[in-house]
């Protein structure tokens, strides 16, 4: 990636974000609000105070991992949107793995719990990759369906087989032992999941950009026929790309259980998977860019509560802003290579 094309990406993405914010301001104005005041509160709620920043980072942690679920298969030319389902399955696997691991010493037990979540999420999305490769089933539709199936499995398990009746607020599974939970980064209220997210993004960046495997996946994403002609193991690469993506989202589910809730419930289904798709596209499927875009999008989620309290906007306001962002970013892809400033002289 040359400097020129990096600047082009940054400029076009920024323009898309500004257009989306402008449109959102229009929505606010239609409700009789001052758009500038809405932007200010959006900023304050996301980054304005230390409390807001911590909230933003907490929201960003799962987004980094679910974004990888779309970004890694995307390099192989697949459009996977199964992050939501893989997160749920990862969370469930973590709770179930907590039973045999109840007596394990903390560091080992926690590592195994996270591994269980990642493997379960990886197999879940990997199944969609297998269907794609062997049966030609469209992976976008199959992963979306798998999201709904995962949520049905979650609801089935937490209202029956693994329900903890001591949880009175809403149906939830039994809880992990206290010693198998991880806490916050010292001095903050941000849990360690953030470190998992940053590490996973860095690791996958190295894998996708600095190894032979990553290069081969890029060839596959560019042209399947060329990849076949070059003798690349296309099937295995599709499976590995899907598995890695699913594993990242599964890890997000494991972190939600180990670091945030301690049990599985409908709190796992809050749209991290869908927001992750937007993050991946905004970051143009680049794992390092995902870290920064996740913080930006986490900020939007974090300021949702303040928007609600200050202006009486419905909580879906952040969903609208995200949707507008997504549309603007996709529409902006048409600009690449068209702007004279960024062309080679």
């Amino acid at each position: 990636m040359t400097i020129r094309s990096s600047v082009e990406t940054a400029a076009i993405s920024t323009a898309a974000v500004l257009v989306a914010l402008l449109l959102f301001g229009g929505f606010a104005a239609a409700r009789g609000l001052d758009p500038l005041e809405v932007y200010r509160v959006l900023y304050v709620g996301a980054f304005g105070t230390w409390f807001a920043v911590q909230n933003t980072l907490t929201q960003a942690a799962p987004l980094m991992l679910t974004a990888l679920c779309t970004a890694v298969p995307a390099r192989a030319g697949l459009l996977v949107i199964g992050g939501e389902g893989a997160l749920v399955i990862g969370g469930l696997a973590t709770v179930l793995a907590g039973v045999p691991l109840a007596g394990a010493p903390a560091p080992l037990g926690i590592a195994l719990l996270c591994a269980a979540g990642a493997v379960a999420g990886g197999l879940w999305v990997g199944a969609a990759g297998a269907l794609r490769h062997w049966r030609g089933v469209n992976e976008t539709i199959s992963t979306l369906l798998l999201n709904y199936i995962a949520i049905a499995v979650l609801n089935h398990l937490i209202t029956g087989p693994i329900r903890d009746f001591a949880q009175v607020l809403k149906p939830a599974s039994w809880s992990l032992g206290e010693h198998l939970r991880i806490g916050d980064v010292p001095g903050t209220s941000v849990h360690w999941g953030l470190a998992f997210g940053v590490a996973a993004c860095a690791l996958l960046w190295v894998l996708m950009r600095r190894t032979t495997f990553g290069f081969a996946v890029d060839i596959l994403g560019g042209n399947v026929r060329a990849a076949r002609m070059a003798g690349l193991p296309v099937g295995a690469m599709v499976l590995v790309a899907c598995f890695l993506g699913g594993a990242a989202a599964g890890l997000a589910g494991a972190v939600e259980v180990v670091a945030v809730h301690g049990f599985a419930s409908s709190s796992l289904v809050v749209g991290y998977g869908y927001a992750g798709i937007l993050v991946a596209f905004l970051a143009r499927q680049n794992p390092l860019a995902i870290v920064f875009v996740s913080v930006l999008l986490g900020g939007i989620s974090a300021s949702g509560g303040l928007l609600q309290r200050r202006f009486g906007l419905p909580d879906a306001a952040t969903l609208v802003l995200r949707g507008l962002l997504f549309v603007a970013v996709l529409a902006s892809t048409t600009l690449y290579g068209r702007l004279r400033v960024f062309r080679r002289p």
Binding site: L79, L145, H156, I277
Partner: protein
């Protein structure tokens, strides 16, 4: 309620097939038309929810459910226009754009629909084909929605129009070979946009069924992937409107299975039966897809069949 016992389950599933199938039918017919022109619109799930919300809101404010149906269609057409216009730009991925509109559509519906969760809107009337029967279950099963009848008429009409009219030929040519269509001087992008607008209109109308007929209320959990399943159903139906009609009935029956079993006292595994339509969709996709050959009836310009 249990006077018919297990036969009641069958009656309820058959009745459910008719009652629940309408949104599947409208979305799949709309998507068939759009895909025949060579474009995919995965955003119809969002269109469905937006249609449901706008129909309910307008019916509540105006007192006329039919006006609600119309406005739902217009809202859907507007979203179709947005999809068509943006995907007409060079190098914009129509599958990803569909996901974006899915998220924007549901978000917008929740945002604008917040005030309409509590109030009551007038519902669409039923056509009572079961008035002759003494059994309340049979009567309930034969209360048919006028929208279902409209969809059942539309399916053969659309099939005929795609196969036998000049407009049908234009749409199919644009979807099968855009170079040939360009050589004939036909405006490829315009045809696709119009097909997407029409598909959006139908999906919006399908949404109005959810809020104004069955279940007949507006809330944020109204649609859980029906629009998406309808899109998958188009592949299974091989882009044939009549096959969409039969497949919609099948899906309606599958969706009605959980509640039907609950009515005879089978309440365990409720959520697993609720997953039946998704599992069925996935199974049918696995069954009807292939890596070896392009699917019969698949428009060659389609991004998801390449």
């Amino acid at each position: 309620m249990t006077e018919l016992g297990w036969a009641g389950v069958l009656v309820a599933v058959a009745g459910g097939a008719v009652r629940v199938s309408t949104p599947y039918l409208f979305v799949s017919l709309g998507e068939t038309l759009t895909e025949k022109s060579g474009r995919v619109n995965l955003g119809l799930e969002g269109t469905l929810v937006l249609g449901a919300m706008s129909a309910y809101g307008v019916a509540h404010l105006s007192g006329s459910p039919w006006l609600g149906v119309l406005v739902a269609g217009v809202a859907g057409a507007g979203f179709g226009l947005g999809h068509g216009a943006v995907c007409g730009l060079a190098r914009v991925n129509d599958v990803a754009m569909g996901i974006a509109l899915f998220l924007l559509g549901t978000g917008l519906a929740f945002y604008l629909g917040k005030p309409f969760i509590e109030p009551v809107a007038p519902r669409l009337p039923h056509l009572a084909f079961g008035a002759w029967s003494a059994s309340p279950q049979v009567r309930a099963a034969l209360d048919v929605s006028p929208l279902f009848v409209a969809g059942a008429v539309l399916a053969p009409v659309l099939r005929w129009a795609l196969g036998n009219t000049k407009w049908g030929l234009v749409v199919r040519t644009v979807g099968d070979n855009s170079d040939a269509a360009k050589a004939l001087g036909w405006p490829v992008s315009l045809v696709r946009t119009l097909a997407t607008v029409a598909g959006g209109f139908l999906a919006g109308v399908g949404g109005s069924f959810l809020s104004l007929q069955y279940p007949g209320t507006w809330n944020e959990a109204l649609s859980s992937g029906q629009g998406l399943m309808a899109i998958a159903l188009v592949i299974f139906a091989r882009w044939d409107p009549m096959a969409c009609f039969y497949a919609s009935l099948l899906f309606g029956g599958a969706t009605a299975l959980g509640p039907a079993l609950q009515s005879v006292g089978v309440t365990t595994n409720y959520y697993l039966y609720g997953a039946a339509p998704y599992v069925l969709t996935l199974g049918l996709l696995v069954y009807s897809s292939s890596t070896r050959h392009t699917l019969v009836g698949a428009p060659s310009e389609l991004t998801i069949s390449r």
